[in-house]
Amino acid sequence: MTQLANASTGVVVEQLRAWNPQAVSEMVEYRGETTIVVPRELLLATAKQCKENPALDFNLLSDATCVDRFPVEPRFELNYHLVSLARRDRLRLRTSVSAQQPVIDSLVPVWLGANWLEREIFDLFGVRFEGHPDLRRILLPEGFEGAPLRRDFPTEGKR
């Protein structure tokens, strides 16, 4: 079983709190993985800090994905998986957006690789990314109605 190197979790949280005390609203450690829950408005700044702070140095965005917690509000939970190549460390950033306002800052200014990942989330969940250079559907045809990975979208049959 994969055990992630997470000895540095304390350092990560400490560094982020020292930078902005509001940045970490919650820290979860589960099955050897560290998740840092970030307030919605601070996501872009925190991501930038994670990348640019030399003590954190999360230079690779491995993955970005969304979980629909319907009917819980705020329902869309965005997970960003970061990797520090130099420190051999992983981190998950998490933030939530509501169904009324499914909008979040794009992380393309921080990691170019967020481009298609965010387009995929936009395509399949209908979450909008502010500041994204090219927010179009990526997998589904342009005329498609609805967001199929939402939990209230049926697996089979008509909507």
């Binding site: 079983m1 994969t2 992630l4 190197a5 589960y30 099955r31 050897g32 993985e33 998740t35 230079n59 690779l60 965005l61 491995s62 993955d63 994905t65 969304c66 979980v67 629909d68 917690r69 997970n79 998986h81 190549l85 051999r88 992983r90 998950r92 990691w111 170019l112 690789g113 967020a114 481009n115 298609w116 990942l117 995929e120 399949l124 179009r136 559907r137 990526i138 997998l139 589904l140 045809p141 342009e142 005329g143 199929p148 990975l149 939990r151 979208f153 697996t155 089979e156």
Partner: protein, 398 residues
């Protein structure tokens, strides 16, 4: 997916529609190329032709049922997909897999890496005009598929790696074909290299083509041979070891040129390293021992036990009717697939079906680098670039 564009660009440029049926796109990739003469001004990949909603379908299956869907994501690497999915579920369950099963997994996944690189090498050589290499590559791949058939009953859609271990005991006499393959393969790789490595046309088509700096590649989230050809030794097997990879002795081949030729050399060197791992794994696999974890209610009981023990019968019934429920939480497992970092993210809400399954597919993310790679290059080099990114459209579109 973009609707068909009939625009012809500006007065100086023209738009050329490459794909989705173009043979060098290895499936159904469509690239809109804006050309100035023979030079590419912009390239816009258009994907989604093979989108089958596997992630959505997983939400309607129990944890064990979803394994058959994972085979079909990257159809050149079904065992790798099985593995990453099972690692994620095992992480959610906090399940320990017996060593013997871990070594069997490693051996088969490394054979899979060789078979996937063989398909890549053969098809890429055909793209570059070297017809014969494909036939040699498929000849050797056939031997690997025969080994898979003996182990799993299937050549391609294996579904062999299961939650808590592997599906079946290795077949009687399995060492013989594996050993034969290991003895045969190094000379065969020399053969491919004799045909290609010093070949003037091969070098002319690949050297200096599709360069990207390591910084750009990291910014674009590229992983796998593409990143290692730029000198960044990022390999999950070494950096975040899984399935006992830390016990194996192997190197991570890297180059620094970061062009198509370097990517070719890295993949060939990786095949040789995989052979080393397969040999070690074969020695490590004991002749008998458990292949599944001791986890009643999660791992199906043995047939014999079901005939004598009431609990075993009840567990069997429950696993195959309602499934099992991992505690609520999330897990993200990663493996090094032939194409790069393959990840599986699972969110559980404590019910027998996953709340969300997401695959971080290396093909999808590596393809993002294509526009940057081909801008300013010749149109013929686009084919070389698409080839050396090594995409599998099933995995791009999922």
């Amino acid at each position: 997916m973009t609707t068909v564009e009939t625009a012809v660009g500006t007065t100086k440029t023209m738009v050329l529609n490459m794909g989705p049926q173009h043979p060098s796109t290895h499936g159904v990739l469509r690239v809109l190329l804006e050309l100035d003469g023979e030079n590419v001004v912009t390239a816009t990949p258009d994907i989604g032709y093979l989108h089958t909603g596997i992630e959505k379908s997983c939400e309607d299956k129990t944890y064990s049922q979803a394994i058959t869907l994972t085979d079909r994501i990257d159809y050149l690497n079904p065992l790798g997909n099985n593995l990453v999915y099972c690692l994620a579920v095992e992480k959610l369950l906090d399940l320990k897999v017996p060593k013997r099963a871990q070594y069997i997994r490693v051996m088969l996944v490394e054979l899979q890496r060789i078979s996937s690189h063989l398909v890549w090498l053969g098809t890429h050589a055909i793209d570059m005009g070297a017809m014969s290499v494909l036939l040699y590559c498929f000849r050797e791949r056939e031997e690997i598929l025969k080994i898979f058939e003996q182990f799993t009953g299937q050549r391609m859609m294996t579904s062999y790696i299961r939650i808590g271990g592997v599906a079946l005991q290795p077949p009687a006499g399995w060492r013989e074909p594996v050993k034969r393959f290991l003895d045969m393969m190094p000379a065969r790789i020399d053969e491919y290299e004799a045909l290609l490595t010093e070949n003037r046309i091969w070098q002319g088509r690949l050297k200096g083509v599709g360069y990207l700096s390591p910084k750009t590649l990291i910014a674009l989230s590229t992983t796998g041979p593409g990143l290692r050809a730029a000198g960044v030794a990022y390999d999950n097997r070494k950096i975040f070891p899984y399935s006992s990879y830390e016990e194996f002795d192997f190197d991570v081949p890297t180059r620094t040129e970061s062009d198509c030729y370097a990517r070719y050399l890295v993949r060939v060197a990786e095949m040789r390293e995989s052979l080393k791992i397969v040999r070690q794994a074969m020695d490590k696999i004991a002749d008998d021992g458990p292949i599944k974890a001791e986890a009643p209610g999660i791992v199906p009981p043995q047939r014999e036990k079901m005939k004598t023990e009431m609990e075993a019968l009840i567990y069997h019934f429950k696993i195959f009717t309602e499934g099992f429920s991992p505690p609520a939480g999330e897990a993200f497992a990663t493996v090094e697939s032939p194409r790069g970092e393959l990840g599986c993210f699972i969110a559980s809400d404590g019910s027998p079906k996953p709340l969300r399954v997401h695959f971080r597919s290396p093909s999808f993310i590596n393809l993002q680098a294509l526009p940057t790679m081909v801008t300013g290059q010749l149109i013929a080099d686009t084919v070389a670039c698409i080839g050396t990114i090594d995409i599998v459209l099933g995995e791009v579109d999922r």
